[in-house]
Symmetry: D2
Subunit: 219 residues, 4 copies
């Protein structure tokens, strides 16, 4: 199944300016601004996704008359990968304020040899069956975490009609991994695709660890 | 000079859903949601405008390397017409958080015969000379208020290189009036253009009085 | 008539931390943080004021039963002095989201000799008659601007039952001027009272020009 | 060890008004307002907690002089119980924007006989050793979830110097359970304490399921 890739960074907009800020190690010192930038990017990504959704005409009574206006047919389900995805999810939820929400945790369990495996522990989600799912994670590095989260979600909550993956920065390898491992109609919305990764699977130049930058280091 | 009109409502997006909410006299009972909707629309309009601005490449040092990313060359000046424009301005300022800002007040002085004239009283603004100006007012009814505000601004603060007018709902007559009275390169960004106006120059179907809906009736 | 002064800065809380940030010329470089700090202080001041307002019991039906809970009897009117008061007003409005709002502009018209007079130009406000008014301006320097705004408001919109003046930083002189010139039951809520003023009537150490710091210099 | 209980609902403030709104099954239909109310309550609770923290004087250079102002000595760690705690946590983080954050998931595993046990699955947290911890969960029903989360946290991340538990609505039984099971200096900050619980351990009158009301039902 083909994955459509929508890289917002290819067209200049204020989105690229925010990308510059979240990458910048000096600007990163202000965690509140870092989170605000992810929130703003979540709003922009949500708005761009909203252009692809279905609308239906509704009659609305204004104080001065009657209007026929298109409204969203169904709100998408917003599911995010903990913890780094939370500020991005906040932005998406600000756009789709009536959406149902899901949360899933996936983490890298490191082994001595710099290898790691992704573990899914926590999942709370509404039914996804035949719905539109927006699955967000701030970074798309190897893609393991996004794919494993997605596979867990469809196993436990049903197969959505369409999935929109949302990340701010990804690696070429992560995009390819996603392409190979998603079997339903899918779109990836992203702001930048970097070429390299470190031995520890951090994107280069990337921005570092998005979870740490938003919420502080964990023990 | 030609005015380019960008009507966001012609393409379906969540923006139209917000238009439906702000028009709806039942949803209007919640002032906080009314203001939030204007704020969200201000953010979307600001983002769409940002696609037309100029960017330049900057080198940014990330924790893991170096990246060349486009950043906004100059932040536009954000000026709004009081009081109704304030929630829209909040949204624009959330997008362009480093912008200089201006405020101008223009009001309808009513005469006995339902006629009225627009009076500009208060203006606080940075220099506009050769800059990009975003001038926002929630409604574009007759267009008198927007035009008079604009003329006052350029007289007192200099002529901008380009002006982006921003409104949520306008009337066809208001759009024409703007077209006839603006002499510099200009774009109008708007969400809906209604055909009619009442004898009191309220847009029909419109949404009523945006200032009252956001802030309560004034005495 | 006596003015009650509530200086939140006398008891340590995060409010003082925000005061430190808005005073700090390095932190001031980030306008978004400056505005956010004023917004947060507006919320705290609004909450503290809310402890002095009147409540009445209301029956509420929950999904699992019935509860009797105190709700605000009347929402106060929130009026702010343009333009510096706007971020503070945003915070107050976030607390009292159903309030009616007013805006008034008062500015210093400078003469050659460093003298200046305060001019009120624009006023939009609901009736204040027998209501509770919260009148906010970020700085209380000489007090002229607050007093003239207040006098204009009661002349044009009626005398409130009680007025709560809200400022973030004031001068001792400004507090005294307010005390001498307000004839109705009044409370001043403030975060710090500085001893001195410059020849240009800026508070020392103060924070500089709050309007410029939030919105950029005006021409 | 004694638990100090600070019930904000005993003194009237806008906090009680928000309590009324989140309990009200009609107002609950607007999920955005429900989340906003929890966010605002999180901010108020954070502010009240901030009055008990330690401050130290710092010299700050303003544009016009030098000031000595108290700043927060150490930011508390903000940990929340997923998913219901998230909107409350957002409010706390808005107050303490430089804090380190933790997330923990605990859920009720239901058995056929209406019995259930609390399971902790996911925990991500900085070191808590000798720090101040604010642990938030929207509802304090049986208290099992808060206590088990707390015990897991101190086992894995060290014993804090002080813990502030934060909930919006609790049951008397939950408060007692907490009192009996916490062995370090602790304060409970809460907005209302209800007397009863259903057989399924929902607080009565309470407000229903806070997670569902904020984020939609999970499958």
């Amino acid at each position: 199944m083909s994955l459509e890739v929508k890289n917002l960074g290819l067209e200049n907009s204020i989105f690229n300016h925010y990308i510059a800020e979240i990458r910048d190690s000096l600007v990163q010192k202000d965690r509140m601004r870092f989170r605000t930038n992810l929130n703003r990017m979540g709003q922009i990504l949500g708005y761009e996704i909203s252009k692809t959704l279905k609308y239906e005409e509704r009659e609305v009574i204004t104080p001065l008359g009657q209007a026929f206006v298109p409204v969203l047919k169904d709100f998408p389900v917003l599911t995010t990968v903990l913890r780094a995805g939370l500020p991005l999810h906040d932005g998406l939820l600000q756009v789709f304020d009536r959406s149902d929400n899901g949360f899933i945790s996936a983490y890298r369990m490191h082994h001595k040899d710099n290898e790691f495996e992704i573990k899914v522990e926590y999942a709370s989600c509404p039914s996804l069956y035949e719905r539109t799912l927006i699955l967000s994670d701030t970074m798309l590095a190897t893609g393991n975490s996004m794919v494993l989260s997605f596979q867990t979600l469809i196993e436990e909550y049903g197969t959505p009609e369409h999935v929109h993956f949302v990340s701010v920065i990804g690696s070429s390898e992560g995009v390819e991994y996603l392409r190979k491992n998603v079997e339903i109609p899918a779109t990836l919305w992203i702001g930048a695709i970097d070429e390299e990764m470190t031995a520890q699977s951090y994107i280069v130049p990337g921005l570092g660890d998005a979870g740490d930058l938003a919420f502080g280091q964990k023990d």
